[in-house]
């Protein structure tokens, strides 16, 4: 090959034809340009292929994270709905007079709120993606936007969740201390029925009632958002 080219060159040069030599030189330059462009494209294509593989891996981790988040949200919704319906049962008692109340077997009714749900998303994959600035590995722009915005949505929901938890643990539990005996100590004579004449306690229950109702709404909004994200991810994952 090299010998062949050299012969061509030799010929051209010895014949002393500048025009022909110029043509040859230009031809050689063009060949070099084409060769380099091909090399660059092969390199680009290879990089793109590697990125694509990483993207697929990342998308799969994200998918499993979001799937577990959606189940966790459903558990939270169920738990909070129970809280709402418990409180709404209590409001019936708040509407009764003391003589009506005395006819009710009060021990059969749940008069306090023991548990509450909090949302703790699994977001390891997303956090590392956002922190490392490697989000660009994801091609789909609307998916990228949704992923960037997801932590904000979670924060908003967590802010309201914290308020609800504070209402329960700081206000409600404190106000109920005089009405409930949590270890059922017979030494204390409690007038549990008196709690249904306590306006402040009723208002506190309303705060929690409202907060819990709003929390269910927020959890459902998060679920909707996850479903949209999952749809986008599924579209991007090759089968």
């Amino acid at each position: 090959m090299i010998k062949f080219f050299r012969k061509i060159r030799q010929n051209l040069l010895s014949e002393g034809k500048t025009g022909k030599y110029l043509k040859y030189a230009i031809g050689e330059i063009i060949l070099v340009v084409i060769g380099i462009l091909i090399a660059v494209s092969i390199n680009n294509w290879n990089e793109a292929r590697k990125d694509k593989n990483t993207e697929q891996k990342v998308l799969k981790t994200l998918r499993s994270d979001f799937k577990s988040n959606i189940t966790q949200l459903q558990d939270n919704i169920d738990e909070t709905e129970i809280m709402v319906s418990d409180i709404s049962q209590l409001f019936k008692l708040f509407r009764m007079t003391q003589s009506e109340l005395s006819l009710i077997p009060i021990d059969s009714i749940k008069t306090d709120i023991k548990g509450y749900a909090t949302f703790n998303p699994s977001d390891g994959a997303l956090t590392s993606l956002l922190l490392s600035g490697e989000l660009n590995i994801i091609n789909n722009d609307s998916l990228k936007n949704k992923l960037t915005n997801w932590p904000n949505l979670v924060n908003d929901a967590k802010e309201d969740e914290n308020l609800l938890v504070e209402n329960i643990t700081k206000d409600l539990w404190k106000q109920q201390l005089g009405y409930q005996s949590y270890i059922k100590n017979p030494k204390f004579k409690l007038n549990r029925l008196a709690m249904f004449d306590d306006l402040i306690l009723q208002n506190t229950f309303y705060d929690i009632f409202r907060g819990a109702d709003y929390q269910i709404y927020l959890y459902k909004e998060l679920q909707k958002e996850i479903e949209e994200i999952l749809n986008l991810i599924d579209e991007e994952i090759r089968l």
């Binding site: 989000l135 915005n149 904000n152 306590d198």
Partner: protein, 253 residues
């Protein structure tokens, strides 16, 4: 020049001397170098074209994001202004007698006056530009500065929102918990679907609280923080509209 090289090469090749052939090889290398430089040029030009397209896309997404942000902001402003006019009305009724107070549906007015909310716009395009280091794709220095100002203003707004929130939750609402009935006010709030009946524990007499200095001061605090927040929102609104104008391109309106 070429003639000169050619002559050297010619001589070298005919004499068939290896060391002299090296000189010829240098000439060949020069050709290859020229080829590589041209290829780089082509590649650079292509990259530049791609970046230009990308920066056009970025401007487009900033434009639509801020249009959306501004719409939500307008809703926030309307919502808070409405609540604030109720708060102003409550303040105008302080020190009035029961007979005067009974003329109004105070459960509704108080409930309306308590409304407020946070403004959390989507900033995904800006956040992504910053985290991916692509902010330089925005050529206009003014726009870049406005985007940073936007984030800064949002932070300020958020700080004051926390103050507004704290005043409402730890002061005004605590007072109201002890003095009015939420069962009665809830049907005038955004949670009217939870309303059921009226509380037997509240006599619907408002004179006492409307003549309580503490109540007046708490409402004045509410009114003050509403005004502060409205000021922030309006500042954000004018900045957003400036950004929208700057990112306007042909064919995206």
């Amino acid at each position: 020049m070429i003639k000169f090289f050619r002559k050297i090469r010619q001589r070298l090749l005919t004499e068939n001397k290896l060391s002299k052939y090296l000189l010829y090889a240098i000439g060949e290398i020069v050709l290859v170098v020229i080829g590589i430089l041209i290829a780089l040029q082509v590649n650079n030009w292509n990259e530049k074209r791609k970046l230009q397209n990308e920066s056009k896309d970025i401007l487009g997404s900033i434009h639509s994001e801020f249009k959306n942000n501004r719409n939500i902001l307008k809703e926030r402003i309307d919502y808070l202004e409405e609540a604030n006019s109720s708060a102003r009305f409550v303040l105008s009724l302080t020190n009035k007698k029961e007979a005067e107070l009974q003329k109004f549906n105070l459960d509704s007015i108080i409930s309306q006056s308590l409304k407020y909310g946070n403004y959390n716009p989507a900033n995904s395009t800006i956040q992504e530009l910053i985290s991916s280091g692509k902010l330089n794709l925005i050529k206009s220095e003014e726009l870049k500065e406005d985007l940073f100002n936007w984030l800064q203003l949002l932070e300020d707004t958020d700080e004051d929102f926390k103050n507004q929130d704290l005043q409402a939750i730890t002061m005004l609402e605590v007072y109201l918990t002890e003095n009015i009935s939420f069962q009665n006010t809830i049907k005038y709030s955004d949670f009217s679907h939870l309303a059921e009946g009226e509380s037997k524990l509240f006599d619907k007499k408002y004179e006492a609280i409307f003549n309580d200095l503490k109540f007046e001061n708490l409402y004045h605090g509410k009114y003050f923080w509403n005004a502060v927040m409205l000021e922030h929102y309006k500042e954000l609104d004018s900045l957003a509209s400036k950004i929208i104008i700057q990112t306007k391109q042909k064919g995206n309106d």
